[in-house]
């Protein structure tokens, strides 16, 4: 019987919004959906997951320590559960990208990365070459499908549901060769880049970490998350986890500001699902203007403060 298992991405307290987008993808498969929460204390995350419309059951597995953050520890438990399912999904966040290939290899099956559309229960679309090409792939229908879901391709699932929460019993030997030591979160108070409705991003033209303050001010005025091009990250203006693009984050905000970003193909692949793209750049021929919905040719050092002031004035 076809049945989908989604592996919840969470931080121990809250469900990561990417999980809800996975539910929207799973709904296209047409199967009943189980959502598994592996955590030291899964209760709060499970309660949140149970409200997602479309989820049939939430399954909780109590983990003894922070080992559940490790793919090496989680993968054998998921593989041991796989026999009951036709599809295993996780979001294509660093969590899912780390985990699911390990699960697939333990099961001896291929894995679909960055699933962006369901054509039929075993046929999917996914991007290659930084999204320059979309391929349609078919997985063997006599094996479980293991996939990561490109979260920018799916909306969040609706809330208001009330799925039952049941314990998941898994018995398998867990490795001790990998140990979790800690996380240095670079967050702050700004909205999370991958789920923010608005994102303001800066590029190399900002020219220094100090000048990036302009981007932060505009972002705060808009209640937006902050992103950056690879060039700006490489130059050390902003932390690595702000990078948007092929090798960074793929985002789909309603409103995206590309400021001083030329628009290399590797960057564009990270924003092509944005609702409205606004580009501000000095170079009228910059490729970013080919994808921008609203383009303004101008010096960002004049335009951005003026824009921030205009927004402040309402």
């Amino acid at each position: 019987m076809p049945r989908t298992l989604i592996i919840a991405h969470h931080d121990g307290d809250r469900l990561n919004p990417s999980t809800s987008k996975c539910v929207s993808c799973a709904l296209e498969l047409g199967n009943e959906i189980d959502l598994a929460v592996f955590a030291e204390d899964p209760a709060a995350v499970a309660a949140e997951a149970a409200t997602l419309t479309g989820v049939t059951r939430v399954l909780t597995s109590v983990q003894s320590d922070s080992g559940h953050r490790l793919a090496a520890v989680l993968a054998p438990q998921i593989a041991a559960t796989a026999a009951d399912y036709s599809h295993l999904l996780a979001p294509a966040t660093t969590f899912g990208k780390d985990l699911m290939p390990r699960v697939a290899a333990l099961l001896g099956v291929a894995q679909v990365s960055d699933l962006m559309a369901v054509v039929s229960p075993y046929t999917f679309k996914r991007p290659i070459y930084a999204g320059s090409v979309i391929v349609t792939v078919t997985a063997p229908s006599d094996q479980v499908v293991v996939a990561t879901v490109r979260i920018a391709s799916y909306p969040a699932a609706a809330g208001g549901g009330s799925a039952p929460i049941e314990p998941l019993e898994v018995t398998c030997e867990l490795p001790t060769h990998t140990r979790y030591l800690g996380l240095e979160a670079s967050a702050g108070d700004r909205p999370d880049l991958q789920s923010a409705a608005r994102v303001v991003a800066g590029g190399r033209a900002l020219a220094s970490a100090e000048n990036f303050e302009l981007i932060y001010q505009l972002a705060d005025r808009l209640g937006a998350g902050v992103g950056a091009s690879r060039a700006a990250v490489d130059a050390g203006y902003v932390p690595n986890d702000t990078q948007i693009g092929q090798t960074g984050k793929i985002i789909a905000p309603e409103l995206y500001f590309a400021i001083g970003i030329s628009g290399a193909i590797q960057h564009l692949t990270g924003i092509k699902d944005a609702g409205t793209i606004v580009a501000i750049n000095k170079d009228a021929d910059a490729p970013i203007f080919e994808v921008a919905d609203i383009g303004l040719v101008g010096d960002l050092f004049q335009v951005v403060p003026e824009l921030e002031q205009a927004l402040a004035d309402g």
Binding site: T94, D98, R102, V112, V137, L183, N240, D241, I294, V303
Partner: protein
């Protein structure tokens, strides 16, 4: 300790990839090929570990057509001690690549395997994790800093919310992220020297690897195009355009 590094031949980072007119893939004739940039970072890290006196040998491995010897020669010029090409004309998917690398790992018994976190052609990002699973060893993906201990390695990983630190027992598989290091440039004398370094070619059929589960590739198509937008002259124009769309 011996370090094994995966080297994939891929279309160069700077090439604008074109779809073939018959839709059966992308244009590769006359297109510049290079080492996948993440694999170059993987190799650089292996070389630095050897240069720090913590490894004796760096072996570069590629899976691909005979032409992939070019990328292996570049790897040798960068400083790898020897190279192995697993020769196959077939397009190899990650699970098969992992099975092949497992065979090489069994032969070579490395203390560490480093590969790129993804190849910029198929953007799968699976091979390192799959090798680690099949080998029954730790994986440390998206590595931005590594520190060798006594039979262990401490790895800082680039995750969505920041930097995560884990410790793995060796042997282990590391996948290199963008900011692990900046790969060195190859100098001419090293290119000459690399011609004399050993490069073994093994036929895939000799290794006895079954390809197993594969995804069937049905079609290639261009991505959906965005509508061309409007230009505004100044900030008031921009604010008006945003208001018109209901975004402010």
């Amino acid at each position: 300790m011996k370090i094994l590094v995966g080297i994939k031949r891929a279309i160069d980072y700077n090439v604008r990839v074109q779809l073939r007119p018959d839709g059966a893939g992308v244009v590769t004739d006359g297109v510049k090929m290079s080492i996948n940039p993440f694999d170059e970072i993987a190799l650089e890290e292996a070389l630095r570990i050897r240069e720090a006196g913590k490894a004796e040998e760096v072996v570069a491995v590629s899976i691909g057509p005979p032409d992939a010897q070019q990328q292996l020669r570049t790897a040798l010029a960068m400083g790898a001690d020897r190279a192995i090409l697993v020769d196959t004309a077939e397009s190899v998917q990650p699970l098969t690549a992992a099975r092949i690398l497992l065979k090489i790992t069994e032969r070579e018994q490395p203390g560490l395997v480093i590969v790129g976190k993804q190849a910029i052609d198929d953007d799968n990002g699976q091979t390192g994790q799959m090798l680690a699973a099949l080998w029954g060893r730790p994986q440390a993906t998206f590595a931005s800093r590594v520190e060798l201990g006594d039979g262990t390695m401490r790895v800082v990983r680039e995750v969505d919310v920041g930097l995560e630190t884990i410790e793995v027992d060796l042997p282990a598989v590391i996948t290199a992220d963008l900011r692990l290091n900046e790969p060195r440039f190859v100098k001419l004398p090293e290119i000459m020297k690399a011609k004399r370094k050993p490069l073994d070619v093994l036929a895939l059929t000799e290794l006895g690897v079954e390809s197993g589960s594969q995804l069937q590739i049905d079609a290639h198509e261009p991505p959906a195009k965005r509508q061309r937008g409007v230009r505004v002259e100044d900030v008031p124009g921009l604010v008006a355009a945003l208001k018109q769309r209901g975004l402010l």
